[in-house]
């Protein structure tokens, strides 16, 4: 028992220091100070405080979970200790921040630019060094205790509490967008006055959100069992009907989405849709066929430029075609580019392929930027006056209407991907991804198979680019940076490589979230990085993995090992 306790203390210290270091790094990169004025609940707590103290609460929770089964007092004590320990790195910062250089400036600031007087004042709660440190330690200690306490609550109480708090946090965080989308007219305006401050929730609003979220959680957990039981007793016919009903509901929701979301959020959804298109295309190349393509943006650019050149009303426009007439040509141009890129890289694999395609992407961007092609595609000035799509005099100008064009393209892409995945060609891709040589020896025509993957993948991207050109009415080379390729690759990895819903979920997370959290723009890539690392550690198969990928990473391990142990007996 003695050793057990000592071991637990070691873990508590480690976890506490870890929580402290997290808070310290968030302070040092400036997130704490920058968002200290950004309220979640007006006048009560700010986003900066969440960054500063979130780790203590989370650490307390984790520590309590780790010591589950211990007696109550001990668990709470562990949470308290963890909270106290987590303040140590911050106190150290406070002390070091007190050192001054010859001119009386903060010494640390010479190399840690974010250690500002404002930050130090925040950390010390506006007090002196010693009093501030004590308050800081006390606060984190209490928060650690709270974290442990939340864990100890019976799930009947703990879960609604957690759901309620998270809802308040999310709605407070997104309050600006919520106001922008729904808070300017009619009932929305009235609700807004009651619930929201300029940035963040008002206290009554926060209480309301908490009560609604926690209450519905309580209500649901009461009903859940009954609903599930009822579902399981349904006959196959009724289940079929239920499934059809759900699909119909989903379709209806997709159709009315822009009316619900209003202009700004529709714009966000449009961007997500364009990335979903690219994600589905790259998913064919990388996910199905296993060809690592880092220059995928090239096809997006070619689709966009083809649309621009063929339809633009400016001097650069040559075809004067309508959007719909130009669309197939834009896709075909991308498909042709896919094949042209494909031919020289047929013999390449893995890293080499990645490097060559990376170069290809850059070549296209630099060509678009070059003076050489400027007379035809505008160089750095780009192509302007690209018309919108129109049907019978209706022009798809607003994001809400453009949404339907993008939705149509996405549905088409999903359908094509889905049918291809289970087709003979899909099997060819899979075999090629697993082992090229053997696939060849099985009778698969590698040339055809690879080129088809590049061509179809490029076609989706070209479609996305063509819509993109018409959406913006103008295109410039700088829209086609390497970063787009990386983004698309990241989104299919985060969503789950080789999986169709994965590409959509990935786009929602990696394209949608940054749009909603524009305030974090300068921390965007840091968050990307953190998200990718956490993903690879916690859910390497992605949020919505394909069946194959899941079974690779989560093979029934004990069974698999048993077979290995049985080994050579056959």
């Amino acid at each position: 028992m003695g050793t057990q306790t000592r071991l637990d203390w070691g873990a508590t210290v480690r976890l506490g220091l870890l929580a402290g270091v997290v808070a310290l790094s968030l302070s040092l990169i400036g997130m704490v100070e920058r968002f200290s004025e950004r309220d979640i609940i007006g006048g009560v707590f700010s986003l900066g405080q969440v960054f500063l103290f979130g780790a203590a609460i989370g650490g307390g929770y984790l520590a309590a979970r780790r010591s589950a089964g211990e007696e109550l007092g001990r668990v709470l004590l562990g949470g308290l200790a963890l909270g106290l320990i987590s303040s140590l790195p911050l106190i150290l910062l406070l002390v070091a921040g007190g050192l001054t250089d010859a001119e009386g400036g903060i010494l640390l600031r010479r190399f840690l630019i974010n250690v500002s007087p404002g930050l130090l004042k925040l950390l010390a709660f506006g007090q002196g060094q010693i009093a501030g440190s004590l308050i800081l330690a006390a606060v984190t200690g209490v928060l650690g205790l709270v974290g442990a306490g939340v864990y100890l609550l019976p799930p009947r109480l703990g879960r609604p509490l957690l759901v309620g708090l998270i809802s308040v946090f999310l709605i407070g965080l997104l309050s600006e967008i919520i106001i922008l989308a729904w808070g300017n007219r009619g009932i929305g305006l009235i609700i807004r006055r009651f619930m929201f401050a300029a940035r963040g929730l008002l206290v009554p609003g926060a209480c309301l959100v908490f009560l609604v979220a926690a209450g519905s959680n309580v209500a649901w957990s009461g009903q859940q069992e009954r609903v599930e039981q009822r579902l399981s007793t349904l006959g196959p016919e009724q289940q079929q009907r239920l499934r059809r009903g759900m699909i119909a509901l989903g379709v209806l929701l997709l159709l009315v989405l822009p009316f619900i979301l209003r202009t700004y959020l529709s714009e966000v959804i449009d961007n997500i849709g364009l990335y979903i298109l690219m994600g589905l295309g790259l998913n064919i190349v990388v996910g199905f066929a296993g060809l690592l393509d880092l220059g995928y943006v090239a096809f997006f650019a070619i689709g966009a430029y083809a649309m621009g050149v063929l339809t633009s009303h400016s001097d650069l426009g040559v075809g004067g075609l309508s959007f719909w007439a130009a669309l197939p040509f834009a896709v075909l141009a991308a498909v042709a580019a896919g094949i042209i890129l494909g031919i020289p890289v047929l013999r390449m694999r893995g890293d080499y392929l990645a490097i060559v395609t990376l170069g290809f992407g850059e070549i296209i961007r630099i060509l678009a930027l070059s003076d050489f092609l400027a007379p035809y595609i505008g160089g750095a000035q780009g192509i302007l006056l690209i018309p919108k799509a129109r049907i019978l005099g209706f022009e798809f100008v607003r994001p809400e209407s453009l949404y339907y064009v993008i939705l149509l393209a996405c549905l088409l892409a999903v359908f094509v991907s889905w049918r291809l995945r289970d087709s003979r060609l899909g099997r060819q891709w899979m075999a090629m991804r697993e082992d090229e040589d053997v696939a060849e020896a099985m009778g698969i025509n590698l040339v055809k198979t690879k080129l088809l993957a590049f061509a179809i993948g490029a076609g989706f991207s070209g479609l996305s680019g063509a819509i993109f050109a018409s959406k913006l009415s103008s295109i410039f080379p700088h829209s086609f940076q390497l970063l787009v390729s990386i983004n698309v690759l990241c989104l299919i990895i985060v969503g789950g490589i080789g999986s169709l819903p994965g590409a959509m979920v990935g786009a929602l997370i990696l394209v949608g979230l940054p749009e909603l959290l524009r305030e974090f723009a300068e921390y965007r890539f840091m968050m990307y990085g953190a998200l990718l690392i956490v993903m690879m550690l916690v859910r390497p198969e992605g949020f919505w993995p394909s069946a194959i990928h899941k079974r690779e990473l989560h093979m029934e391990e004990p069974e698999a090992l048993a077979h290995l142990a049985a080994g050579q007996t056959g």
């Binding site: 060849e440 590698l446 690779e552």
Partner: protein
Amino acid sequence: MALLEVNGIHTYYGAIHALKGISVSVDEGEIVTLIGANGAGKSTTINTICGILHPAQGEIYLEGEAIHELPAHEIVMRGVSQAPEGRRVFGRLTVTENLEMGAYARSDNNGIRRDMERVFTLFPRLEERSKQVAGTLSGGEQQMLSMGRALMASPRLLLLDEPSMGLAPILVEAIFDTIREINARGTTVLLVEQNALMAFSVANRGYVLQTGEIQLADTAEALRQNDEVRKLYLGEA
């Protein structure tokens, strides 16, 4: 006419001259073995026959038709399939999916189903494991799968590249029994082996390769008695 006639082929890996004029012939219904040390060119010969590599000189005929310029997938369609060295099953696909991939070049669904059953009678173990992911099979099971996959192409000529590699002796016996059975059911086999003793026990004829050239060619029995072969490949004094 021989089923397979390899006529003085030279194959290069870039500048490396791997095969220096190899000639091999395999008659319908035979088991012929190629033995030799590491780097003698055994696998290169197999891969050149399959069309994964192409000879710079020399010809390969299948039933009198030149196949040495055809791409690999067309050679498979003409009835030549291989179980590659090191098994190389599709690790993330299930046993059944692997077998289906073997029948990739065919489209006669009835025949494919029949052959799947035939593979399962040859290797009952694979049927038990049919839903399992191939990467989790044992070495012996993977070898069975690799051979089963090659059989799914319904080949007239089956190329086996070191089926005994890395397997326990008792399994090697089982694998070679199966090779005999496959042959007895009418499939011609070209067998590449380092385990010369086992190879001679099933083969009708054999070739000894050394650094890209044929050193000896004779019946399996005669090769087994040959002094040099006994010294170099059978480890006998």
